[in-house]
C-alpha cells in the first residue's frame, strides 16, 4: 500500500513578496491571514519581453514611499512603486549608447534605503556592470517621464578585468563590496569612491595549486559592523573575512559540490543562508563555521536569490526551478511554494505588509484608513524631527502621498493624486 498521507506544511504567515523573472515580469505573491497559509500570485506587472529581462532587483523597504528598483537587460534601471506597480522613473544606467548594454549588462543593483529628507528625490541607487563600472545615481521626482538622471552621481571602475557577479552594501549604506569571476573581494567607501580593503586569495595547497578567485555571492555579516564579510565562491566554499584583522579568510567551509549562487544574512548577526547551483539550501553559523542544517523539500533548480524577512523568522528563495519558496528558519520547514512559470532572477520581501490594510481594503472603512494614516503621520513626524527638517508644505505633500497609497482604491486615487500633486507644485512654482 503506498503512502497516501502527506506531511502538512503549517502554512506561512501574512507576507508579501515580489519576484522578478527573465521575461521582465514582476509578480506579487501574497499570503494572507484569511485562507491561512496559502501564498498566491495576486498581481503581475509588465509585459513579457525577453530583452527587458530583470537582472537584479532591490527594494527600499520603508513605511512611507517604498520604492522598488529593477535592473533590466537593456541597461535600464526602473524605479517602481511596489504597492501598485506604477513606473516612477526609468534611467539608462549603463551608458548613452544602446550597444553598451549588450556587451556589458548590469550585474548588480542596490537602492539606498535611507530616506532623503527633501522629497524631490525619488531615490539613489548603486549599480555595477559586469565589466566593473560602478555608478551611483540619484533620480529626482520631477523627471519621472524623461530619461535623465539628476542629482549627485558618481562612477568608478571596480576592476580592470574579470566579471563582476555581485555587490553588497552594508546596513549603514556607506560601504560596498564587489566580487566576481577573476576579481578578489574588495571593499569600497561609497562617499569617497575609494577602495579601502581587498582580499588576498588563500595559499596554494600542498601541491602548490592555486585557484583563481571566483566569488559568486557575498554579504556583510552583522548589521552594525561592516568589517565582517561572508563571501561564497564558485568553488563551493563559504568564507568569512574580517577586514580589521587580515586579508585572508578567517574561516573557510566547504559545502557540497556545486557552486554557491546566493547568500543572505540573518539579523541575529551570525547566521547565513546559502543556496547552490543544484538547489541545495542550507544555513551556517559563521561564528564557528558549522552547518546548522539543510532546507529540504523538492527544490530542484539553481537558487538565484535568497531574502530574509526582517522581522518574521522566514526566508524566501527563488531560482531556475520557477518556484518561489518560503521557509521557516527555525524549523527549516517549507511553508509555501508558488509556481511562477519563468526562470526567476530575484526576490524581495515587503516587510510592511499587514493584514490590516487588506481588511480596510475589503471593508472600505475610511475612518480606519485615516487612523492608519494618522499613525503613519506621527511616525513620519518623529523621523523628520530626528532629521531636523520641518517644512510645512513638504510635510503636507508627504502625508498626502501616504494617505493615498493606503486608501482602498489605490490606482484611481493615485491618478488623481498625481494631478493634485502637480497642481500643488505648480502653485508652489507660481
Amino acid at each position: 500500500m503506498p503512502r497516501t498521507s502527506v506531511v502538512e506544511s503549517p502554512g506561512c504567515p501574512p507576507l508579501r513578496a515580489l519576484a522578478t523573472d527573465v521575461l521582465g515580469l514582476i509578480k506579487v505573491v501574497e499570503a494572507r491571514a484569511n485562507p491561512a497559509g496559502v501564498a498566491k500570485v495576486v498581481e503581475t506587472w509588465g509585459t513579457p519581453d525577453a530583452s527587458r529581462a530583470v537582472l537584479a532587483a532591490s527594494l527600499a523597504d520603508r513605511v512611507v514611499d517604498p520604492v522598488l528598483a529593477v535592473a533590466r537587460n537593456n541597461g535600464v534601471v526602473e524605479l517602481l512603486n511596489p504597492l501598485n506597480g506604477d513606473t516612477l522613473a526609468a534611467v539608462n544606467a549603463a551608458g548613452p549608447a544602446p550597444t553598451d548594454s549588450a556587451e556589458d549588462p548590469l550585474a548588480t543593483l542596490h537602492l539606498f534605503r535611507r530616506h532623503v529628507p527633501d522629497s524631490s528625490m525619488l531615490g539613489t541607487f548603486l549599480t555595477c556592470t559586469e565589466k566593473g563600472k560602478a555608478f551611483v545615481k540619484s533620480v529626482a521626482k520631477e523627471n519621472a517621464a524623461s530619461d535623465l538622471a539628476v542629482g549627485p552621481s558618481s562612477s568608478w571602475h571596480v576592476c580592470n578585468s574579470g566579471k563582476v557577479e555581485f555587490s553588497s552594501v552594508d546596513a549603514d549604506e556607506s560601504y560596498v563590496m564587489f566580487g566576481g569571476k577573476g576579481i578578489e573581494l574588495n571593499l569600497w567607501d561609497i562617499t569617497s569612491c575609494s577602495k579601502i580593503w581587498s582580499a588576498k586569495s588563500p595559499r596554494g595547497n600542498s601541491l602548490q595549486i592555486f585557484t583563481r578567485p571566483w566569488f559568486t555571492a557575498g554579504t556583510f555579516l552583522c548589521k552594525d559592523d561592516h568589517r565582517k564579510i561572508v563571501a561564497c565562491t564558485n568553488n563551493h566554499q563559504v568564507r568569512l573575512y574580517d577586514t580589521a584583522s587580515q586579508r585572508r579568510p578567517v574561516i573557510s567551509v566547504d559545502f557540497r559540490e556545486s557552486p554557491i549562487k546566493a547568500v543572505a544574512k540573518d539579523p541575529n548577526g551570525h547566521t547565513v543562508y546559502v543556496g547552490t547551483g543544484r538547489g541545495d539550501l542550507a544555513s551556517f553559523d559563521m561564528r564557528t563555521g558549522k552547518l546548522l542544517g539543510c532546507f529540504v523539500g523538492k527544490c530542484s533548480g539553481s537558487i538565484r536569490s535568497i531574502v530574509r524577512h526582517p522581522e518574521l523568522p522566514l526566508i524566501a528563495s527563488c531560482g531556475l526551478d520557477s518556484y518561489l519558496r518560503i521557509w521557516d528558519t527555525n524549523t527549516r520547514q517549507l511553508l509555501s511554494a508558488v509556481f511562477l512559470k519563468q526562470h526567476l532572477t530575484a526576490v524581495v520581501i515587503d516587510s510592511h505588509f499587514s493584514t490590516e490594510e487588506l481588511e480596510t481594503k475589503s471593508t472600505q472603512v475610511d475612518a480606519l484608513v485615516e487612523a492608519e494614516a494618522e499613525i503613519r503621520k506621527e511616525r513620519k513626524e518623529k523621523k523628520n524631527r530626528s532629521s531636523k527638517v520641518d517644512e510645512g508644505t513638504e510635510l503636507v505633500d508627504h502625508d498626502d502621498s501616504a494617505v493615498e497609497t493606503y486608501t482602498p482604491k489605490r490606482k484611481k486615487s493615485g491618478d488623481k493624486s498625481k494631478g493634485t500633486k502637480k497642481k500643488s507644485k505648480k502653485q508652489q512654482v507660481a
Binding site: P2, L25, G279, G301, S302, D321, Q342
Partner: protein
C-alpha cells in the same frame, strides 16, 4: 478465549502447524467476506435496474494514473506567458525555421562495442547530422568547435563497458544541456522484420510532454529535427513519454488499399476489417526501422556543458522519489496539456491508425470530420477539425484537430491522404 479483545495474529504463534492453520482460516474468512460483499453489490445493482432507479456507483479501481499527485506546472493552451516564454527561449530560432538544425554527434573517449553501430543508426534518424571523432578533446572544447561551425545541437553518446548508457544533448550556442540515462537499446539488426529508413526528413511525434519541464525537453528534442518533414518519405520518429521514461521508436508506414494481404497478421487491420466490410479499404501498416531505446532525464543544465560551475534548471534528487505517484515530465497519460508538436500522426482519410500498441490512436470518419481520438477506452466529448491546407507535392491534406479533454484543449496537426 473467544472474547479476546485483541486476536492473536498468526505471526505471533510459534507452532508452525497451528500458525499455518490459523493463517488459512483467516484467509478463508477474508475471501468469503469479499465474495459476500461482491454479491451484495451485484444484487443491489440488479434491484435498482429492476426498479428503474439510478444504479449504485461503480467502484473505480485505484491506479497510479488516477491517484497521481497534482501538478500545477502543466502547460495550458490559454497561458500567454508560456507562449511568450517559448518565443524567448533558446530553441525558438530553430523551431521558427530561421535556422536549419545541424547536429554534431560525438562519443565519449573510448567508443567501442555497440556504440559505433548505434551512432551509425542515429545518424540515419537525425537528418543533417555529422559525426566527429572525439579524440582526447574536452567536451568544452568540442562545444566551442561546434559553435564556430554553426551547429545547433551537440549529441554525445556515452559508452560504459562497450554499451551505450547515457545521452547528452546540448543545445548550441547557449544551452540548455540535458543528460539522459539510456537503456534498453535494441539496434536495427536485432529487430525482427525491420525496415531500412530512407533519407527523407522524418515526421516527429512527441507524446505527453506536458509539464513545464516536459515542455522544455520536448522543445529541445524537437529542435534536433528539421521542422519541414517530407511527408512523401512516410517516416516517423516518436518520442513517447510515459511516467518520465521517454521511449524512442522509428517507423516507416504505408497506406494500402488492398484487402487482406500480409496485413492480416496485423491486429489493427483485423479490427478495421471487422468494422467496415467495404471492399475498398485503406490500411495503414507500420514497419519499425530501429533503433529502439529508452531515455530517462537525469539533469537539465542551464547553459552549455559545465559540471564545475554550472547552474541546473532541474536535477533529479533522491528526496524527490518519496512517492511513486509523482512524475516530472507529464501530468498523466490520458490527461493532456499541450505538447510541442511538429507534425503529428499521419492518417489515411477513412482509416484508423495506431502507431504501435502504446501510442494513441485517432480515428477519422469518411466525411473528414473527426469522430474519436485518443487512447482506447477514453471518451472525448467534442472534437473540432479544421482544414489546414493542401500540400501540393504529396497529395496530403492537413487537418488541425482539437478536442477538449478533462478541461484541457488538445491540439493536433494531422496530415491525411486525400480520398480517392
Amino acid at each position: 478465549m473467544k472474547e479476546k479483545p485483541d486476536p492473536v495474529l498468526p505471526s505471533q504463534i510459534k507452532n508452525k502447524e497451528k500458525r499455518s492453520e490459523m493463517h488459512a482460516k483467516l484467509k478463508r474468512e477474508k475471501k468469503a467476506q469479499k465474495r459476500k460483499l461482491a454479491r451484495e453489490r451485484d444484487q443491489a445493482a440488479k434491484l435498482s435496474a429492476d426498479l428503474g432507479e439510478q444504479p449504485p456507483e461503480k467502484q473505480v479501481p485505484r491506479t497510479i494514473e488516477n491517484t497521481r499527485e497534482p501538478d500545477e506546472t502543466v502547460c495550458r493552451p490559454d497561458d500567454e506567458e508560456l507562449f511568450a516564454g517559448n518565443d524567448a527561449d533558446e530553441f525558438s530560432a530553430v523551431l521558427k525555421q530561421q535556422i536549419a538544425p545541424k547536429v554534431l554527434i560525438t562519443t565519449c573517449r573510448f567508443n567501442s562495442g555497440r556504440g559505433p553501430a548505434f551512432i551509425e543508426e542515429l545518424m540515419q534518424v537525425i537528418p543533417n547530422s555529422h559525426y566527429v571523432k572525439r579524440g582526447t578533446y574536452e567536451l568544452k572544447k568540442i562545444v566551442e568547435y561546434a559553435n564556430n561551425r554553426g551547429f545547433t545541437s551537440l549529441v554525445v553518446v556515452h559508452t560504459n563497458r562497450r554499451e551505450p548508457d547515457a545521452l547528452l544533448i546540448i543545445n548550441l550556442p547557449d544551452g540548455p544541456t540535458a543528460h539522459f540515462k539510456l537503456s534498453k537499446l535494441v539496434l536495427r539488426k536485432d529487430i525482427k522484420n525491420h525496415g531500412n529508413p530512407t533519407s527523407h526528413k522524418p515526421e516527429l511525434v512527441l507524446n505527453n510532454f506536458t509539464t513545464r519541464l516536459g515542455h522544455r525537453i520536448g522543445r529541445m528534442i524537437q529542435s534536433i529535427f528539421p521542422q519541414d518533414p517530407n511527408f512523401r518519405g512516410r517516416r516517423v520518429v516518436t518520442f513517447h513519454n510515459q511516467r518520465d521514461y521517454i521511449f524512442f521508436r522509428h517507423h516507416r508506414y504505408i497506406f494500402e488499399t488492398k484487402e487482406n494481404k500480409i496485413a492480416s497478421k496485423d491486429k489493427k487491420a483485423k479490427t478495421s476489417e471487422s468494422k467496415n466490410q467495404s471492399e475498398k479499404q485503406v490500411i495503414c501498416r507500420l514497419q519499425e526501422c530501429g533503433p529502439r531505446f529508452t531515455l530517462k532525464l537525469i539533469t537539465l543544465q542551464h547553459g552549455t556543458f559545465d559540471t564545475k560551475s554550472g547552474e541546473y534548471e532541474w536535477v533529479h534528487k533522491p528526496d524527490m522519489d518519496t512517492s511513486r505517484r509523482r512524475f516530472f515530465l507529464s501530468l498523466s497519460s490520458n490527461c493532456r496539456g499541450i505538447t510541442p508538436h511538429c507534425s503529428c500522426l499521419l492518417l489515411s482519410m477513412q482509416e484508423l491508425i495506431i502507431a504501435g500498441p502504446m501510442f494513441f490512436e485517432v480515428a477519422i470518419a469518411t466525411s473528414g470530420a473527426m469522430t474519436a481520438a485518443a487512447a482506447p477506452g477514453h471518451r472525448i466529448p467534442e472534437v473540432n477539425a479544421s482544414h489546414y491546407g493542401f500540400h501540393p507535392l504529396s497529395l496530403l491534406h492537413y487537418y488541425h484537430v482539437s478536442w477538449v479533454d478533462d478541461g484541457i484543449v488538445c491540439v493536433l496537426l494531422i496530415a491525411a491522404e486525400s480520398s480517392v
